[in-house]
Symmetry: D2
Subunit: 323 residues, 4 copies
C-alpha cells in the first residue's frame, strides 16, 4: 500500500485533529503517501482530496474541531454516490482509508469495502463514548471536562442563590457524559436513558434534601433521558413543588469544541498510528480501540451492533456521594 | 464608626467574594469590627449576622459566587421589613453598611438611610456592566471571558460543520456582554438592545457571506435584543433561508460563575477598600467606582437614574472585522 | 466498626479533597462516624482530630490541595511517635483509618497496623502515578493536563520565535508525566529516567530537524532524567550548538494544584468509597485502586515493593509523531 | 495609499494575531491591499513578504503567538540593512507599515521613516505594559491572568503544606505584572523594581505572620526587582529563617502564550483598526493606544522616552489586603 486517505465524518469531536495528525505522521514514518479528504464522504465523492505532508499537521494537536471538516453525506448512502467516491480514489491512486467518526461512518465504510474492495480502518471519533470496542472514544474525556467546568460555574451561582439547577448534558442514547458530570460535579441526582428515574423520586429527593437543610441542588439530565429533556422535567417538578426556585441550563454544542485533554490527545495519537499500521498489515473494516490500555481491533460490524454498557455501580455512587 | 456590616444582594457575580474580602480586611486594617450579613436584606431582617475576622476571608478571592449568599427580599420593600432590619443592626451595634449589588440593592439602601440614618456605601456587583458611575462592574470582565471561551469552543464545531450558530449571551437591557463577545469571538453579526438589527440585515449578511464562500457564521444575540431571543430569531431566519444549517446555544447561568479574572479581583479589591474608607470618612449613599482608572464616588440616586451608554464605535468594529 | 478517621499525607495532589469527600459521605451512608485528622501522622500524634459531618465536605470536590492539610512526620517514624498516635485514636474511639497518600504513607500504616492493630486502607494520592496496584493515581491526570496547558502556551512563543524549549516536568523516578506531555504537547524529544537518551541523540535530532527546516522544538525533560535536569541538559546542548536559541522552563509546583479533572474526581470518589467499604468488610493494609476499570485491593507491601512499568510503546510514539 | 505592510517584532505577546487580523480586515474594508511581512525587520530585509486576503486571518483571533513570527534584527540597526528593507518594500509597492511591537520596534520605525520616508504606525504589542501612550499594552491582561491562574494553583499546595512560596513573574523593569498577581493572588508580599523592599521587611512580615498563626505565604517577585531574583531572595531569607519551608517557582515563558483574553482581543482589534485608519489619514511615527477608553495617537519619540508610572496606591492595597 503506497497511498492512503484520511477523513473525518459525522459529528466532530475534540481530538479529531490529533488523530489526523497521527495518521499523517505515521504514514510519513512508514513511507506511505497520505491524502486528506475534506467533508467526509461528500468530499470523497466531489474529489476534495489533497496531499498532506508532515508539516500540514503542525500545530494542530491542540485544536478542537477538524481541519478536514466534517459532514453527513446522503449521496454516499446510494450505490451511485459510492461509485463516484471510488472513481475519485482511483484517480488519486488511494488504496486504503482511515475513517475518523462513529457508527454511521463505519457502516458506510463497511459497505464501501464490500462493494469496491477499498480497505478502511476506523478511529472512534465521537464525544458520546457509546461505541463498542474501545473503553473511551476520542473526544469523550474533553467533552466531560468541558461540561464539568461549566457545572462548577453553575454550582457557584446555585450555592449563592439556594437554587435548583437542571443541567442538560449531551448523550442521546446513553449516560456516559452525564455520569461523570454528576459524580464530578457533586450533583444530587442524575437522570440517564439507561435507568429509569421517576419524577416522584426527584421530587422526594428535593423534599428530603430541604428537610436536611440542604438548599442548593444540581440535577444532571442526559438529553436522551426517558423522562424528557431538562426543560420538560424542570417544568413538571416545578408544578409539584411551586416554591422551588429552579433554573435550566442546556450546555449544548460547547461540549463539542475546545482543546482536547491529555487523555484524548494520547488516545487519538495511539489510535491514529494503529489505524495506519493496521492498514499496512492488511487489515480492513475494523475499528482501532484501546481496551484495558491495550490496542484492540474490532470488526466494524461488532462496533455497530454490540452495545457497551455503562458501569451500574456509577449510579449507586451518585446516591452515596450526595448523602 | 466602630462596627460595620457587609452583604451581597441581587444576582451574584464573580468577584463578590474578592470584594467581601477587601471590605473585611480594610475594616480590620482600620481597626473597625466587621459583620457578615447573609442572604442580603433578608438576612438583615432575620438577624443572620456574624462577626468576621481576617481569616474568615482567607482563600476566597478566587472563588465565584458569594460566601454571604444572595437573595432578593420582598419584605425589605416594606417599611415594616426595614424596621426589623434596623432593629437587628442596632442589636449588633452596626453603624454602617457596605452593600455589594446593583440598582435594586442601592435603591433599598437609599431609602433605608433616609428612614433610619444608617449610612451605606455601595459596590457595583453585577455581570451586566450597566451601572452608571464606574467603567466596569465587578464580575463583568469574568462573565465576558467565560462567554468568550464558550464561543471559541462553538467556533471549532461551527467551522468543522459549516454551520450558522446563534449564541445568546446575558444582557437584558444592554449589549455590554454581547459586544466584546462578538468582537473577541470573531462573530459576523451582533444583535443588541441598543441598536436595531433587522432580520433582513441578518439574512442579507448570511447570503452575502455565502456568496463570498464564507461557510460558517457566529451571530451573537444579547438576551434583551428587540428582535427577540436567539431561539426566535434563528427560527425566523431559518424560515427565510431553509437551507441554512443552524444551531442555537444559550449560554445561560454559566456566565455568572467561575473564578474571577485578574481585572475583576483588582476592581473588587479596590472598590471594597474604598467603600470602607468612604464610610469611615463620613460618606453615605454612594457607590464606589473606577472611572478612567481613578476612584470615584457617585450618589446612589445617579447610579440608579443615569444611563451608561455603550461606545457606538464598537458595532462599527464588528462590521469592519467581519469583512 | 463504628468510628473511622481519614487523613492526607505526603505531597498533596489534586483530587485529595474529592477523595476525603467520598470517604466522609460513604461513612455517613453506612452509618459510621468519621473523623478528620489534620496534617497527616503529625496531626494524629498531636490529636488534631475533629468530627466531620456530610456538610463538612460540601463544595470541596472541585478544589485542589487538601482541606485536611498534609505534612511529613519524622516522629511517626519512631515507636514513641506511633504510640502517641495510637493513644490519640483510642481517645476518640477511632477503630479504622483511611490514608490518602503514597509509598511513605502506606509504609507507616503497615507498621502501625502490625504494632497496634489499627486497620488502615489506602488511597493512592500522588501526581507521580508510580504506584503499583492502580492504573492511575489520584491527581495524575490533573497534573498532566496542567503541564500540557502550559506547554501549549510555550509552543505559541516557541513557534513565534523559532526557539528550542527545554521544559522540565515533575517525575523524580518516572516518565509518567513526561510521556503524555511529550505526545500531547507535540514535543520532538522526551527524556525520561526509564530510558537512556544521550545528549548526542538530542543534538542529532535538532540538527536533523533544522535540515528539514523545522524551526521550533519542544523537549520534555522529566526532573529525574539520568542526563540531568532541564537546565543542565540545555547548557550542554547549547555548548555543542552555539547558534541554538534555547529557553528553559521548569513547570514546578504549579503541577500540584488546580481543580481536579473529571477523571481524577471519578477515581478519587470511587476509591474513597472503596476504602470505607473495604474497612467495613474487615480489610486492612491494602490500597484500593482501579485496574482495567475494575476495583482492585492490593496489599501495601506490594504497592511499596513492586514496580509499575511504563508502556514502552509510548517512546516509539514520540518518534513517529515528530517525524 | 494603496498598499500597506504589517509585521510583528520583538517579544511575542498574546493578542498579536488579533491585531494582525484587525489590520488586515481594516485594510480590506478600506480598499487597501495588505502584505504580511514575516520575522519582523529581518523578513523585511529578506523579502519574506506575501499578500494577505481577509481569509488569511480567519480563525486566528484566539491564538497566542504570532502567525507572522517575530525576531530581533541586528541588520536593521545598520543603514545598509534599512536600505535593503526599503528596496524590498519598493519592490512590492508598499507605501506604509503597521508595526506591532515595543520600544525597540518603534525606535527602528522612527529612523526608517526619517531616512526613507516610509510612514509607520505602531501597535503596542508586549506583555510588559510599560509603554507610555496607552493604559494597557496588547498581551498584558492575558499574561497577568495566566500568571494568576498559576498562582491560584500554587496557593492550593502552599496551603496544604504550610509553605512559603516565592513566585517570580515577568517584568524586567516594572511591577505591572507583579502587582495584580499579588493583589489578585492574595499574596502577602510583593517585590517590584519601582519600590525598595528590603529583605528585613520580608523577614519581619513572615515572622509577624507566623506569630498570628498564618502558616502559608505567597511572595510575588518581579524578575527585575532590585533585591535580586526569586531564587536569590529565597536563599537569603532561608538563611535568616532556617525553619522556613520555602519553594521557588519561576513562571517564565508560559506567561507569553495562550489564547488572549477578551480585553486583549478588544484592545488589539481597536488598535489594529486605528493604525490602518491613522496611516490612511496621513499619520506616521505614532503609536495607537487607548487612554481612558479613548483612542490616542502618541509620537513614537514620546512612547520611547516617557515613563508610565504604576499607581502607587497598589502597593498600599497589598498591605491592607494581607492584614
Amino acid at each position: 500500500m503506497k497511498k492512503i486517505g484520511v477523513f473525518t465524518s459525522g459529528g466532530d469531536s475534540p481530538g479529531m485533529n490529533a488523530c489526523i495528525r497521527a495518521v499523517v505522521r505515521a504514514a510519513v514514518y512508514h513511507g506511505v503517501e497520505v491524502y486528506g479528504i475534506k467533508r467526509g464522504y461528500n468530499g470523497m465523492i466531489n474529489g476534495e482530496i489533497f496531499k498532506m505532508e508532515s508539516s500540514a499537521v503542525s500545530n494542530v494537536i491542540q485544536r478542537g474541531g477538524t481541519i478536514l471538516k466534517s459532514a453527513r453525506s446522503k449521496e454516499f448512502l446510494t450505490r451511485d454516490g459510492r461509485q463516484k467516491a471510488y472513481d475519485q480514489l482511483q484517480k488519486f491512486g488511494i488504496e486504503g482509508l482511515v475513517a475518523i467518526g462513529g457508527d454511521g461512518t463505519f457502516t458506510g465504510a463497511n459497505i464501501f469495502h464490500e462493494e469496491f474492495g477499498i480497505p478502511t480502518m476506523g478511529a472512534p471519533g465521537t464525544i458520546d463514548n457509546d461505541l463498542y470496542g474501545t473503553d473511551f472514544t476520542i473526544g469523550y474525556d474533553t467533552a466531560v471536562n468541558t461540561a464539568l467546568e461549566a457545572i462548577d460555574k453553575i454550582r457557584d451561582t446555585a450555592d449563592s442563590h439556594e437554587r435548583v439547577f437542571f443541567v442538560e448534558v449531551m448523550g442521546r442514547d446513553s449516560g456516559y457524559i452525564a455520569i461523570p458530570c454528576a459524580i464530578g460535579g457533586g450533583a444530587e441526582i442524575v437522570m440517564i436513558p439507561e435507568t429509569e428515574t421517576t419524577l416522584e423520586s426527584v421530587i422526594d429527593a428535593l423534599k428530603n434534601g430541604w428537610s436536611r437543610s440542604k438548599t442548593s441542588f444540581i440535577i444532571i439530565v442526559a438529553e436522551g433521558d426517558d423522562a424528557g429533556n431538562a426543560t420538560t422535567i424542570a417544568a413538571k417538578v416545578q408544578e409539584a413543588l411551586p416554591k422551588m426556585d429552579a433554573r435550566v441550563t442546556i450546555l449544548g454544542h460547547v461540549q463539542r469544541g475546545g482543546a482536547p485533554t491529555a487523555a484524548d490527545r494520547m488516545l487519538a495519537s495511539e489510535i491514529g498510528i494503529a489505524c495506519v499500521e493496521g492498514l499496512l498489515a492488511g487489515r480492513t473494516s475494523e475499528m482501532a480501540g484501546i481496551v484495558n490500555r491495550e490496542l484492540v481491533y474490532t470488526p466494524f460490524i461488532e462496533t455497530i451492533t454490540k452495545q457497551k454498557l455503562i458501569n451500574p455501580n456509577f449510579t449507586r455512587m451518585v446516591d452515596i456521594l450526595s448523602v
